[in-house]
Amino acid sequence: MRGQGEICLADEFILETEGLTKEFAGFFAVRDVALKVRRGSIHALIGPNGAGKTTCFNLLTKFLKPSAGKILYKGQDITAMAPADVARMGLVRSFQISAVFPHLTALENVRVALQRQHGSSFDFWRSKSVLNRFNDRARELLNDVGLSEFANTPAVEMPYGRKRALEIATTLALDPEMMLLDEPMAGMGHEDIDKIAALIKRISAKYTILMVEHNLSVVANLSDIITVLTRGQVLAQGHYSELTKDERVKEAYLGAGHA
């Protein structure tokens, strides 16, 4: 399937990188990566531990500064932007280690995200009851990720898997165009995995998703296209079925067990 991108129109790709490189004191965590993410697709980024997946995410969302290379988002060069501004353009991430506002309730967690978009977040002279108008939408989002009963629970008291779900709900609240999910299923129970997988599938109709995941069944079921990274470089790209046949991928990532 490589090369398909070249035939298509440039704006089919919502995100493109050229020669993206990140060096930590002589160690290349990401090296010369050219990534093209098609609008509306679920694109998986897989690879062995330490391959540079999270680093890639950090570069894309500007939490790290690239050593070299260029990032285009919706055709615009965002290489030099600040992280918050990238988020405002609709490119939003979740974290590998779960990131919630621990002492806010689930509802409030989601509301914080809703509030950003709808302004009024600098209004220090107004009562916060103006935020109540977000409650319905927030409940809806919590419901989507199966957290209805946790609406009034502080995030810190929620089980791990639920925190991941909450994080996704919060991210969705921003109504992003593209979501970067870093191991969204890590540490979840089976039921939750299925729920979240279904959720991702559902929302992918509206959003573009780039995700890192080690759970192969999830990757297999969800992703339209997969890029395999090793040692900071792209090793292969293609559909799951193709990649499982690729000896290099097997050796580097999947292991012998995967036929």
Binding site: A84, V92, F101, H103, N109, Q115, S121, W125, S127
Partner: protein
């Protein structure tokens, strides 16, 4: 860094109602002071510090930013108001305005420098800035160095309120305090306040949600600094002097103490804390040399036994947010 506040208590609509009730009770009690025989100057002074502590609390308790240089706003506003009143002969309301404006300007400058720093480094850069300012005030002629500006005229506010009458002064100060307090209360419970709290909780996450967190922290810093300045301007009328004490680092430390003793991140805590500390300074003064020992013991006991502060402990006991 663990959070300092008791976060098992969250603002729910019921909590807001509780807080309003307590506020009204507090306002009534304070309004009754002149009829009780309690010495009004003591209360006025405590009110000024209470406002300062509340402003400080806005930054630490809700923004997670521990400023170790809040005295600089108090002192700057104090000096500027004092100078305006005494040398330029401005009426009280304009004197206050001058002081508050100075604190506002100062908080913009210092906020711009310090806000990008995290945790303990933020504290330290605010401390360093306030020490620089201390040095400037020590050297600048208009502050009269160690002697301070003394004998400041109180004047007539709006041309009618004679501030040299203790009762009139008392109500003016009380009104100022209540206004400042309500503003802070509102800020905490505003959309802005919500964002601030979430930044305190997890700044990285807030950034990833698209918040330019520096701007929010900056606004919180400026609001806090300006309100602290307002406290400083009011204090000029009460103390009728402006001195280096108000810009010294130990004053910044005292504010931290007041807030902690009362209860960090509680709305009424700083007020109670300010009253406790000021009362301690006043009434322990007659214990002679043992003052510092007694004061020290109180801090030790506070930290070891009721760390949430007076109000924090009460709130925790009743499982209410106060």
């Amino acid at each position: 860094m663990t959070t300092l506040t008791d976060d098992t208590l969250r603002a729910t609509p019921r909590a807001m109602r509780d807080e309003m009730i307590v506020f009204v009770v507090m306002a009534l009690l304070l309004a009754a002071v002149p009829f009780t025989g309690v010495y009004p100057f003591f209360v006025m002074q405590a009110l000024c510090f209470a406002l300062l502590a509340c402003a400080f609390n806005l930054l630490i308790g809700y923004g997670g930013l521990l400023s170790f240089g809040h005295a600089m706003f108090l002192g700057t506003a104090g000096y500027c108001s004092a100078h305006a009143l005494k040398v330029w002969g401005l009426p009280p309301e304009l004197g206050i305005l001058v002081g508050v404006a100075a604190a506002f300007a100062l908080s913009i400058v210092t906020g711009y420098i310090s806000i990008r720093r995290q945790g303990i480094y933020f504290s330290m850069i605010t401390l360093a800035l306030s020490q620089l300012l201390y040095f400037i005030y020590l050297q600048a002629p208009f502050t009269h160095g160690e002697d301070g500006i003394q004998g400041i005229p109180q004047g007539h506010m709006f041309g009618v309120l004679d501030l040299s009458k203790p009762t009139v002064l008392y109500y003016v100060v009380l009104a100022g305090f209540l206004a400042g307090f309500l503003l802070i209360f509102r800020i905490i419970n505003s959309p802005f306040g919500e964002v601030l709290k979430s930044i305190r909780e997890n700044e990285q996450r807030a950034i990833s949600l698209g918040y330019r967190t520096d701007q929010y922290k900056f606004l919180a810093f400026v609001l806090s600094g300006t309100l602290a300045g307002f406290a400083g301007s009011l204090k000029v009328f009460v103390a009728q002097n402006a001195s280096l004490t108000d810009v010294h680092w130990s004053m910044s430390g005292e504010v931290v103490l007041m807030t902690l003793v009362g209860g960090l991140g509680t709305i009424f805590g700083p007020v109670v804390g300010a009253f406790v500390i000021i009362a301690m300074q006043q009434y322990l003064a007659s214990f002679g040399q043992w003052v510092t020992v007694i004061q020290g013991s109180i801090f030790v006991i506070c930290v070891l036994t009721f760390r949430r502060g007076v109000i924090g402990e009460i709130a925790h006991y009743f499982r209410r947010s106060l």
